[in-house]
Amino acid sequence: MSTHDSAGGKSLTGNTSASAPGDTGRPAKRTSAKSPTGPEDVGPRADKRSERLVATCFGVSSLAAIAFLVVFWALPKTDVAYTPLLGVCLAVSLFGVGVGAILWAKKIMPDEEAVQERHPMYSTPEDAAKTAAVFAEGTEKTGFARRRLLRYSFLGAMGTLALPIVPIISDLGVHPRGNARQLKTSPWKKGDRLTTEEGAPVRIGDLEYGGILTVFPNGNTSPSNSLAPTVLIRLRAGENQPRPGRETWEVDGHVAYSAICTHAGCPAKLYEQQTHHMLCPCHQSTFLVTEHCRPIFGPAARPLPQLPLALDNEGFFVAGAAYQEPLGPSFWERS
């Protein structure tokens, strides 16, 4: 402690034994742990007691840390209590240190209320003016304002230095011109067989009335083909109310729609047979299967795209044509 501090220190005008009306006050032990005239929990005995208490906290911490090691090595890591016990040991050993340190500060260290003056949060006008003058002088010496050629060529060079960033960034992904085409290309071609997740082709009779099946084009279940998942649903005869021009897209009550929600791209596959609602669990867009999967609730704005169905000569379901519109969520270049 410097001499300046003690010289500059001022005792406060407050009185520690103030008894204002309704004043419950802070616990007396906090006012001054070193005061010999304080209440019963200060003084040499209480001081010893506090010291033992803090030391106990630190001791418990050490024991818990050792217990952590024991659990870590002695218990098989597959034991159901392994992780919980590690957590308890670690927590107790951390709590021991934390509680000990805080009790140390509260019970052993003398309570103080210090006052520190702030420094002003601004420079004097003279200082500011001097700084401005130094800057102006330096700028004047560069001749930045006068020498137009230097100024423009320098700014030009800084500008052109930004150019190399463009190809570097644009090579992070596939060439942007291909975007729209890739998103607009149907992952299903005419004649692609509808296959289950296991790769088995599907024929009439595989689905009950009201049944639903996720199908992929020709067994391609690769996650990279993320727009391909399609649902095949069997409706009862006469339940489907196709759009004009799509009367031939169903086969014997079977209809197929893209499983990818037109809102944010989650698989919208929660099908309720009674109501023919298809729900996307992400944002709860609901599509009415019997009416060309038009959205009837939630944030989706467009129906799920429909896949025209046909049968191949072996009686398996195939795509009668590719999807007629881009699949999945909307994007700028979509239409």
């Binding site: 709590f95 992929f216 993320s226 698989p267």
Partner: protein, 529 residues
């Protein structure tokens, strides 16, 4: 302190001082005064959780393999044996089941991440409602807003890394949100993901974002935040002896160092207990990501919930014109709305200063009741946010309360526009009521609890007059300091009965007023008892 250790410390200090001339700086730092108030500890929780995140994160990095390459799982977790999955998911399972202590590290990391974002948000609420963001602290407010947004991004990147079904669904939605931006959306998502969703690159890139880019910026911003805080000194609540020109509290060394250091271990202890006892993000139950699958009732981490809710509440609007599509049902709730929310949050200090024409510096905090407009604006915004957040779990709520899912959405759409102004009005009224109650104490004195019976039989309660030392004059316009002496109207409020604001659990009773003529503007000037 024994002479031996004293000599050792002295020798070490001299060694450092002869190289860094550090004695003055270190003395000033040790003498730095921190106000004793519980609400100042919330920001510390954020700092401490960040340290815990760095410690556990480095450990996880040693085992995690952020590649999309497909492998066949062959670890200890039997239900997924033989299942094809990405290396990222497989190594997450390896950490959870085959590395000793790996699961608790993962869970501590995840809990600490939730605590990090939570404490930032609560800390910002403290700063907002007490007006601590006002001049000269606007820069630190902006840094704080940046830290919060980066914290959200960091959390999202982190929980997307395991490449499980839940996180993959989150990424799918994020991709759609990016794609919805007019003109540049498709381009930027293709660049970021390396092609159409899911692409091969995103896990590796998110990993770089999560372990290097964002933590690096966070570290730099936290350092700046702390240095500015250190330099500007803390704000403090009004109380006896507390002025715009001083800070009252305990000194950095030893009292605050012991309390603050101990508090770090308490925070770490809580997170360790949670990591051991409370399961979080059990990725093995979700399975590897598959674009044709999704689990119902799945929820993101809490801080993404408000975006989920705003996407759910959106009506099915879409613009199709001139050969282009603008999906308003994603663009507005997923991009525009959060942009406005964070933008207003960042700009608030400047807006308030402009509207109140307040150019003064403030170091004394407001009590929320004393600034009813700000308080009700804050409650209004929080209500708006809270409705969105609840709606991120409307399916859970519908299930829990056995009401129709569709009904919860309609309720949410109405509540989003109805509740915020309503809560704002209620808050305003509560603030005014509290002000009047303060005024009542000022005029009629403090209840003593002593009841006297007069000879006439009448009972009266004795009220003690408020002593001058207990007056805590509240929002005094800094431009009009004369009001401190003059005004005793509803705007000049008291904290009476010795309940000076300063401690949450224990009332302050000290009168520490320093005579104005003795004040010095010097870092070294400390008064202490």
């Amino acid at each position: 302190m024994t002479t031996m250790t004293g000599k050792a410390i002295g020798g070490g200090a001299r060694y450092v001082d002869e190289r860094l001339t550090s004695a003055n700086f270190i003395r000033r730092s040790m003498n730095k005064v921190f106000p004793d108030h519980w609400s100042f500890m919330i920001g510390e929780i954020a700092l401490y959780s960040f340290i815990i995140l760095l410690l556990t994160g480095v450990y996880l990095m040693l085992f995690f393999d952020a590649t999309a390459r497909e492998v066949i799982y062959n670890g200890s977790y039997v239900p997924l044996k033989g299942v094809p999955m990405s290396e990222a998911y497989s190594s997450t399972l390896h950490i959870s089941f085959d590395v000793r202590g790996g699961l608790i590290m993962r869970q501590i990391h995840h809990w600490a991440a939730l605590l990090f974002v939570s404490s930032i948000v609560v800390h910002m609420m403290r700063v907002f409602f007490t007006g601590a963001f006002r001049k000269p602290r606007e820069i630190n407010w902006l840094i704080g807003v940046g830290l919060m947004v980066l914290g959200l991004l960091e959390g999202f990147a982190g929980y997307s890394l395991p490449d499980d079904l839940l996180s993959g669904t989150g990424l799918r939605i994020a991709y759609s949100v990016g794609q919805s931006v007019p003109v540049v959306g498709t381009w930027s998502t293709f660049l970021l993901f390396g092609g159409n969703f899911p692409g091969e690159s995103i896990i590796g890139r998110l990993y770089v974002v999560h372990i290097l880019l964002v933590p690096g910026i966070l570290l730099a911003l936290i350092t700046a935040h702390m240095m500015i805080l250190w330099y500007q000194k803390h704000t403090q609540f009004r109380g006896p002896g507390r002025t715009e020109e001083n800070v009252v509290g305990s000194r950095m060394y030893p009292s605050y160092a012991a309390k603050g250091g101990g508090f770090f271990f308490l925070v770490f202890g809580v997170v360790a207990a949670l990591g051991g006892l409370a399961q979080i993000n059990p990725v093995w139950m979700y399975g590897p990501f598959n674009p044709s699958q999704v689990s119902a009732g799945a929820q993101p981490d809490w801080y993404i919930g408000f975006l989920e809710g705003s996407l759910r509440l959106s009506p099915g609007w879409e613009i199709r014109a001139l050969g282009h599509t603008i999906p308003l049902n994603i663009l507005i709730p997923g991009v525009v709305l959060p942009g406005i929310m964070f933008g207003l949050l960042a700009l608030y200090p400047f807006l308030e200063a402009a509207f109140t024409k307040d150019k003064a510096q403030h170091h004394l905090l407001d009590r929320p009741r004393d600034k009813p407009v700000r308080t009700s604006l804050g409650v209004m915004s929080l209500t708006f946010y809270f409705v969105l957040w609840i709606m991120g779990a409307n399916d859970i709520a519908a299930h829990l309360f056995r009401i129709s899912l569709n009904l919860t959405t309609y309720m949410g759409q109405v509540a989003l526009f109805l509740l915020p102004p309503l809560m704002s009005a209620i808050t305003y009224r509560i603030c005014i009521g509290l002000q009047r109650s303060d005024h009542e104490v000022l005029v009629h004195g403090v209840e003593t609890g002593t009841v006297h019976r007069l000879p006439s039989g009448e009972y009266i309660e004795v009220h003690a007059p408020v002593q001058e030392s207990q007056l805590v004059l509240s929002p005094v316009e800094p431009d009009h300091p004369e009001r401190i002496e003059g005004e005793r109207g509803p705007r000049a409020l008291v904290s009476a009965a010795g309940r000076a604001v300063g401690s949450f659990f224990v009332a302050k009773k000290k009168d520490t007023s320093v005579p104005a003529d003795q004040r010095e503007r010097d870092d070294d000037t400390l008064t202490k008892r």
